[in-house]
C-alpha cells in the first residue's frame, strides 16, 4: 500500500469498516510512515472531538414534537379506521347508492335489511366483542396492526418498562377496569419488555409487549364485552396476515387476546399457545 491508498482508507479503518487484511496493511504502513501515522492521529482526535464535544452536538427531539406526532398519527389512524367496512352497518348505508331515484323496489328493502340483520344476529353466538363474527376480525386486525405500527413509529412502545411481571401487572391497577394476566415467558423465548395503555375498538386495553429475537410482539388484552358468554373459548385462534404482519385473535375465559407482530406465523402461534396455556 502506498500513502495515497492508505490516506483514502484511514477514515474507514477508524470506523472499523475495513477487513482484517486491509487493517493490518494500514497498521504496517503507518508504523514506517510518520506522515500517515500523524494523519491517523488527527482523524482519531477529530473523532474524539465529536464524542466529547461540550455542549453535545446531537439534538434531542423537543417534547412538543413528540406529542404533536403522536397526535397526528392517532388522527391518521382514526381516519384509516373510519374507512373500514363495518359489517353490521353495511346494509343500511348502501341504500342510497343502489337507487339514485325513487324506485318501487325500495319498498322491499326494509324487510330485506331486517332479515339480513337477523341473520347476522343469529350467526353471532354471544356477541363477544372480539369474536370473529361480532366485528369482522379483519377490521379488528387492521386496527391492531395500526396500533402496533404506531407504537413502534411514535416510540411510544412502553409506558412501564420492566421485564418483571410483578412490576407490570400492578401498573395497570387503576388504569383499567380489569386486571390483565401478565407473565414473563422468557423460558419459552418470549421475554416480557413491559406494557402500556392503548385504545382498540373504542376502549382502553392493556398492551403487553414481548420480544422475540429482534421482533416486537404487541399483545392486546381486554375483557369480552358485557353480555358476552365468558368461558366460550375460541381456539385455534383466528389468523389474519396483512402487510407483512400476522395477527392472532382468540378468547379465553372472560378475556379477548390479540397478538400482533412481524414475526413469522409459526413463532407467533407458538407465542399465542404459550399465553393461552398460562391463562387456562
Amino acid at each position: 500500500m502506498n500513502c495515497e491508498t492508505v490516506r483514502a482508507l484511514l477514515s474507514a479503518e477508524l470506523d472499523g469498516e475495513l477487513d482484517l487484511r486491509q487493517s493490518l496493511e494500514i497498521e504496517t504502513h503507518a508504523a514506517d510512515c510518520p506522515g500517515c501515522a500523524q494523519e491517523r492521529e488527527r482523524l482519531r482526535a477529530l473523532r474524539q472531538a465529536f464524542h466529547f464535544a461540550a455542549p453535545p452536538l446531537r439534538f434531542a427531539a423537543p417534547a412538543e414534537l413528540r406529542e404533536a406526532i403522536g397526535l397526528s398519527l392517532r388522527e391518521a389512524a382514526g381516519l384509516a379506521t373510519e374507512e373500514l367496512p363495518k359489517p353490521v352497518r353495511k346494509t343500511p348505508r348502501r341504500w342510497p347508492s343502489w337507487t339514485p331515484r325513487f324506485d318501487w323496489r325500495w319498498l322491499l328493502l326494509p324487510p330485506v335489511a331486517v332479515a339480513a340483520l337477523l341473520a347476522v344476529a343469529l350467526l353471532v353466538p354471544g356477541m363477544s366483542r372480539w369474536s370473529p363474527a361480532a366485528r369482522s376480525g379483519d377490521a379488528l386486525a387492521r386496527e391492531a396492526i395500526a396500533s402496533h405500527v404506531r407504537s413502534l413509529l411514535a416510540e411510544h412502545l412502553l409506558d412501564v418498562v420492566s421485564s418483571d411481571q410483578h412490576t407490570v401487572k400492578p401498573w395497570f391497577n387503576g388504569r383499567l377496569d380489569f386486571a390483565p394476566p401478565v407473565t414473563d415467558f422468557v423460558a419459552a423465548g418470549f421475554p416480557l419488555a413491559g406494557g402500556r395503555l392503548d385504545y382498540l375498538d373504542g376502549r382502553p386495553v392493556a398492551a403487553l409487549v414481548y420480544r422475540h429475537d429482534k421482533h416486537v410482539i404487541n399483545l392486546f388484552v381486554q375483557p369480552v364485552a358485557a353480555g358476552g358468554e365468558s368461558g366460550a373459548a375460541t381456539w385455534p385462534p383466528q389468523a389474519v396476515a396483512r402487510e407483512g404482519f400476522h395477527v392472532l385473535l382468540w378468547t379465553e375465559r372472560d378475556l379477548s387476546f390479540c397478538a400482533v407482530s412481524d414475526l413469522n406465523e409459526l413463532d407467533l402461534r407458538r407465542f399465542a399457545e404459550t399465553v393461552r396455556q398460562s391463562y387456562r
Binding site: 477514515s11 470506523d15 477529530l46 464524542h51 446531537r58 427531539a61 398519527l73 413509529l153
Partner: protein
C-alpha cells in the same frame, strides 16, 4: 425520534423546519408503511426523514442564489493541525458545531449519521441511497474538510 430530529435539524439548520420535516416524515412513514419490507425500521424512517429534508432544501434553494462550496478555500491539505491541537479544539463544542454546519449537506449528512447516530457504512448507504464506496469517500473527504474548517475558524478567532 431523537435520531430523526437530529438528522433533520442538521440538514435544515433550524428547529422550526426540522420539526415540520420530522412530522411530515412520520406521516409519510405511516402512509407508506406497506412499502416497508422488513429490515431495520430506524434506517427506513431515517431515509424518509432525509428525503423529506432534501426535497425541502431543494425548494428553498430554488429562490435563493446558490453559493458554490469553494474547494480552494476549504481545501484541508495545506494546514494540518497537530492531533493535540485538534483535541484541545475539539472539546469546544460550539466551534465544531459551527464547522459541521458549514459543511456541504452531503458530507454533513454522512458525518451526522456516522458520528452522532453511530450508523454503520451499510446503514448510511441505505439511508442516503448511495453506494457503500461513496459513503466511504464522503466520510473521508468530509472529515478532511471539517478539520480544515476548524483550523480556519480558529485562526480567524485568534487574528481577526
Amino acid at each position: 425520534m431523537d435520531a430523526a430530529y437530529n438528522l433533520a435539524r442538521w440538514l435544515t439548520h433550524n428547529d422550526h423546519d426540522a420539526r415540520d420535516a420530522v412530522q411530515d416524515a412520520y406521516l409519510r412513514a405511516w402512509k407508506f408503511f406497506q412499502s416497508f419490507r422488513g429490515g431495520d425500521s430506524r434506517v427506513w424512517l431515517l431515509a424518509i426523514v432525509r428525503n423529506t429534508c432534501f426535497s425541502w432544501l431543494k425548494k428553498q434553494r430554488a429562490h435563493e442564489p446558490a453559493t458554490p462550496f469553494d474547494e480552494e478555500i476549504h481545501s484541508g491539505e495545506t494546514a494540518a493541525p497537530s492531533p493535540a491541537e485538534l483535541l484541545a479544539r475539539g472539546a469546544d463544542g460550539e466551534l465544531l458545531r459551527a464547522a459541521l454546519a458549514e459543511l456541504p449537506a452531503e458530507f454533513r449528512e454522512a458525518l451526522v449519521l456516522r458520528e452522532l447516530e453511530e450508523l454503520s457504512y451499510k446503514e448510511i448507504a441505505d439511508v442516503a441511497g448511495i453506494p457503500l464506496g461513496t459513503v466511504m469517500s464522503r466520510l473521508a473527504r468530509g472529515r478532511q474538510l471539517l478539520a480544515a474548517i476548524v483550523v480556519r475558524r480558529r485562526q480567524e478567532e485568534e487574528s481577526p
